[in-house]
């Protein structure tokens, strides 16, 4: 009888045990390593050049100035063009929007067809698609140049959109396929009995039921396409370069005096879009990247 009154569960631990100090201490040290670069970027970008030359990169600015940001956005030079990162930003936006929309449409329809409308060989294509995602991009770079040239898209914005759609396909198709296969098949069968067809079921049942996975795909694609460098360099021309490429050209240009504060403001500006997506989306971002590890 006496035993029954004993409190259940593990014994509560003391707050400041040696174990906890070790645990939180280690986590804090690692957090410092992760957070330091962001801190340095922000601090450097808010200092004037004289202060950058004199001071410590970790120290906060004595006098806060937003001039480096303005300069990075509107005046920084790449080669002969001195209209700042804003051009790269708008290029990236113009590449991003159609690429994200097209790649998500294609991949979600793929996933849907692979789960509910299997045809002979559909699984073979899926397997090739997944293995294809491991092929180094360098192997396919030149064949795609030829394909785009044949289509008249080489060096254009739409060429890059096609490339992003192709290389986004494996991971997104996997994502959608796994999600759609968790939707009860009875729903699909009932809709079939009611006479709904391929597109009817897609738009009226699958799409409305899968909004969370569309958001995950959106996060994945926006960060992925925004951060792309290689495809931007290979498949576009200098006046269409996305922001990452232009950033690299600004910072690593050998001409002129190095303005580190402007460079850091430019770097931060380029990182801002994925950072905002990351901080706003929270757990969904984690889910998106974990999807890459889910077995097909």
């Amino acid at each position: 009888m006496a035993e029954a009154v004993h409190p259940r569960g593990t014994k509560p631990r003391r707050r400041l045990s040696g174990r906890n100090i070790m645990l939180y201490g280690t986590l804090l040290v690692f957090s410092l390593y992760y957070i330091l670069p962001l801190w340095v970027m922000v601090m450097t970008s808010l200092k004037g050049m004289p202060e950058v030359r004199l001071g410590n990169i970790f120290a906060p600015p004595v006098e806060i100035t937003f001039e480096p940001w303005v300069k990075a956005w509107a005046e920084a030079c790449t080669g002969l063009n001195c209209d700042g990162l804003s051009r790269g930003f708008w290029n990236s936006v113009r590449i991003l929007i159609p690429s994200v929309i097209l790649s998500i449409i294609v991949a979600s329809v793929n996933g849907y067809a692979l789960v509910n409308w299997r045809f002979k060989g559909s699984d073979v294509f899926f397997t090739i698609l997944i293995f294809g995602s491991f092929i180094p991009y360098q192997v396919m770079l030149y064949p795609i140049v030829i394909l785009l040239r044949e289509m008249g898209l080489y060096g254009t914005l739409w060429g890059l959109v096609v490339v992003h759609t192709i290389f986004g396909m494996p991971i997104l198709t996997l994502l959608f396929r796994n999600y759609f296969s968790s939707i009860p098949e009875e729903l699909f069968k009932a809709a079939r009995v009611d006479g709904a067809g391929f597109w009817g079921i897609y738009f009226r049942i699958m799409l409305p039921m899968s909004l969370p996975i569309f958001v995950v795909a959106l996060i994945l694609q926006v960060t992925g396409i925004w951060n792309d460098f290689l495809f931007g360099v290979v498949y576009t021309k200098p006046d269409l370069y996305p922001m990452t490429v232009q950033l690299n050209n600004i910072v690593n240009s050998v001409q002129g005096v190095k303005e580190y504060n402007v460079n850091m403001a430019a770097t931060l500006l380029t990182g801002l879009v994925p950072l905002i997506i990351y901080f706003v989306s929270g757990k969904l971002f984690v889910r998106g990247i974990a999807a890459g590890a889910v077995k097909g």
Binding site: I57, A113, Q138, G271, I277, Y278
Partner: protein, 298 residues
Amino acid sequence: MATTKRPRNRMFRNINAKIAAIPMVLTTLVVFVGGTIWTVVYSFTNSKLLPKLKFVGFDQYERLWSNSRWLISIENLALFGVFSLIFTISVGFLLAVLMDQKIRFEDTFRTIMLYPFALSFVVTGLVWQWILNPSFGIQSIVRSLGWESFTFNPLENPNLVMYGLLIAGLWQGTGFVMCLLLAGLRGIDEDIWKATRVDGIPTWKTYVIVIIPMMRPVFITTLVLVAAGIIKLYDLVVAQTSGGPGNASQVPAMYVYDYMFQAQNLGQGFAASTMMLLSVLIVLIPWAYLEFGGKKHG
């Protein structure tokens, strides 16, 4: 009538699904399979500015393996790859274990550790270029604290430059590995922990002899993902060191790009990219065998 119609029916069954799958079919067959075969075939030609089907056997490969720049690239990638695999997985696992101790502020810690993964390699490379800058970054700060002879200038030292890249690469990628491994740890049945506790096995020993072996599939998937990412290493190097000082931080992806699009020596580029493909296959085939081949027997 019905009998003549049947074969047509089969062809046109699921016609909408087949039309919808055209992009996937084209991508897999034309780009992935076709493109790969095309590159491998043309790596045996002496294509210069334009691809030409004039076969020269293994000439391109002989030239490739006698090019010091390629040898440096391979050496660099091997060094970077080995260290980044060891560190991302061990540090990632350590962090995942720490995060799994029912700690407070778990979400805050995760947010801090994972945010670099949202940033591009270009941004990563440029930030670390700045932090490792000898006249403003870590070196100058330690010197200004009084230690005048302190030297930490990896990006301008050919022997250390790959470690400078490694610091940046680990910063960007360990959070991701931590997340994958944490998901793996959370997937382990609570009863196993209870059982080992009843048996009085110390926690660290439980990790070593029970948990890590149980997480083998998660580790293997992580390993494959990280390894596939390492072979693609390109943007980080371009941004942080541009392959320098000299050729000291060249990597294969840069070699391919330069020969294909700058030096107008397509054949060399194709041969180099075929070697990259080969190295992926060396990683991938044993994994695919273990993952899919093993199931038939088990």
